[in-house]
């Protein structure tokens, strides 16, 4: 089955990395095909950036998302740009503190940034928390796969922090 996952947030939140990790999990550890793409502006920080994965059991022809079934929204600007006319049957995870609006579709609120800052000590891992929640809530890849992909992708020395963030994400995602 073709899944289209769209991530959006402001530059610096790591939404591109999220999609890269998810794609990696699917392609290398999930026995699926995955294509990761993005749209980003010139801003290194700030501005709305978007990143997406197409995940499928068959080889992927058209590589871009057309109608995502899963949204991960980490900023209000991101919501305004990508999240405002989501189809009813989609699923959206939002960073509950940074996104004020809520969509028509099923919505899972994850206080990822607060969690990252207050319980994990580094805002920077908010995206990993979201990723954990996403996987737990949707099963689009297995928890094991995402764990291995996270470990592949994060800087040496931060594995522990990121794993903790991911697991915290699993918990938050499962709860919902």
């Amino acid at each position: 089955m073709r899944h289209e996952v769209l991530f959006s947030g402001f530059g610096g939140q790591g939404v591109i990395l999220s999609a890269v990790i998810l794609g990696r999990a699917a392609a290398l550890y999930g026995n699926k095909y995955a294509v990761q793409t993005q749209v980003y502006g010139p801003e290194a920080r700030g501005g709305a950036s978007m990143s997406a994965d197409v995940i499928d059991d068959e080889p992927i022809l058209y590589p871009k998302v057309t109608s995502p079934d899963i949204y991960v929204i980490m900023s209000q600007q991101g919501f305004d740009k990508y999240g405002s006319d989501v189809p009813d049957d989609a699923l959206m995870l939002v960073d509950s503190e940074l996104v004020l609006s809520r969509p028509e579709c099923t919505c899972i609120e994850i206080p990822a940034t607060t969690e990252a800052k207050e319980n994990l000590g580094r805002v920077i891992v908010a995206n990993i928390v979201m990723l954990g929640a996403l996987v737990a809530a949707t099963g689009v890849v297995s928890e094991d796969a995402i764990e291995r992909a996270v470990l592949d992708s994060v800087p040496k020395g931060t594995e522990d922090l990121n794993l903790r963030a991911l697991h915290r994400g699993f918990e938050l995602g499962r709860k919902k």
Binding site: G12, G41, P42, E43, A44, R45, G46, G47
Partner: protein, 265 residues
């Protein structure tokens, strides 16, 4: 009534600008605007020109006519503007890459011709806009995405080059030294011929992050503590002492009256 920084010079409808949190470029803009304002230049007679880079985005936030050109070529456009209409006041914003990598030739020629304008280079020792590649000003040993094992190429002394090439006024300060920088720009604006102001700035995103200056304040602090007054450096040199490796000099390098081009009629 509120008092923003020289409000009339900024395009309110475009702020906040795209610079990262704590990027020194915004501070340098403040200093330049303050200097221009002090000169009592008119908005409608003043043109800001730039190339491509984070730093080169600055003119887009200023209310005057402005020209955001191609990478490295700002000074050629500025030369056209100023030589075609010397009555306009021309200020160029540029970055270390824009000015001294791809734009090096126009830099030395503008200095040689000594065209009557002020060139402000925001030197963050890196290519910021493209995400942190080494520039001709990246210090030896520092990490960038294209110098993953530490930079090995000798670097330019931009101020020294400007002096050798012929500019009438050359100074270097940092975004920490807002007062001195403002004053140096002001002197530049009032000098006939080309004035070159090198403003060292922090780039937390593309430079600091990779070079153990994690926070904005770390980088500003580094600039504060590693800058050494030109006079002092010269004194030390005279005394045979060498200036420590990662220190840089600040101050006025030259102020002279070589013949200039494009001076107001």
């Amino acid at each position: 009534m509120s008092t923003r920084v020289f409000e009339k010079w900024y395009r309110e409808d475009r702020l906040p600008h795209i610079f990262c949190t704590g990027c020194g470029n915004g501070t340098v803009m403040n200093c330049a605007i303050k200097a221009v304002d002090t000169m009592q230049w008119e908005i409608d007679d003043t043109i800001f020109i730039s190339g491509i880079g984070c730093s080169s985005r600055a003119p887009g936030y200023i209310t005057t006519d402005s020209l955001h050109t191609t990478h490295g070529r700002a000074l050629t456009f500025a030369t056209g503007v100023k030589m075609a209409n010397p009555d306009l006041n021309v200020v160029v914003f540029t970055g270390d890459g824009d000015l001294s990598a791809i734009g090096g030739n126009h830099f030395i020629h503008a200095c040689r011709r000594n065209i009557d304008m002020t060139v402000i280079c925001m030197n963050n020792m890196i290519y910021g806009m493209t995400g942190g590649q080494g520039s001709p000003c990246t210090p030896v040993g520092k990490i960038s995405t294209t110098t993953p094992y530490g930079a090995t190429e000798p670097t330019f002394d931009l101020a020294g080059l400007a002096v050798a090439a012929g500019a009438n006024h050359v100074a270097r300060w940092t975004s920490y030294h807002t007062k001195e920088l403002t004053k140096a720009i002001e002197t530049g604006l009032s000098t006939e011929g080309l004035s070159f102001i090198e403003a060292m700035v922090q780039c937390p995103t593309a430079y600091g992050r990779r070079n153990k200056l994690r926070t904005v304040t770390d980088m500003v602090e580094w600039m504060r503590t590693h800058s050494i007054l030109l006079q002092k450096a010269r004194r030390m040199e005279a005394e045979g002492k060498s200036i420590p490796e990662d220190f840089f000099t600040v101050g006025e390098f030259i102020h002279r009256q070589r013949p200039a081009m494009g001076v107001k009629r």
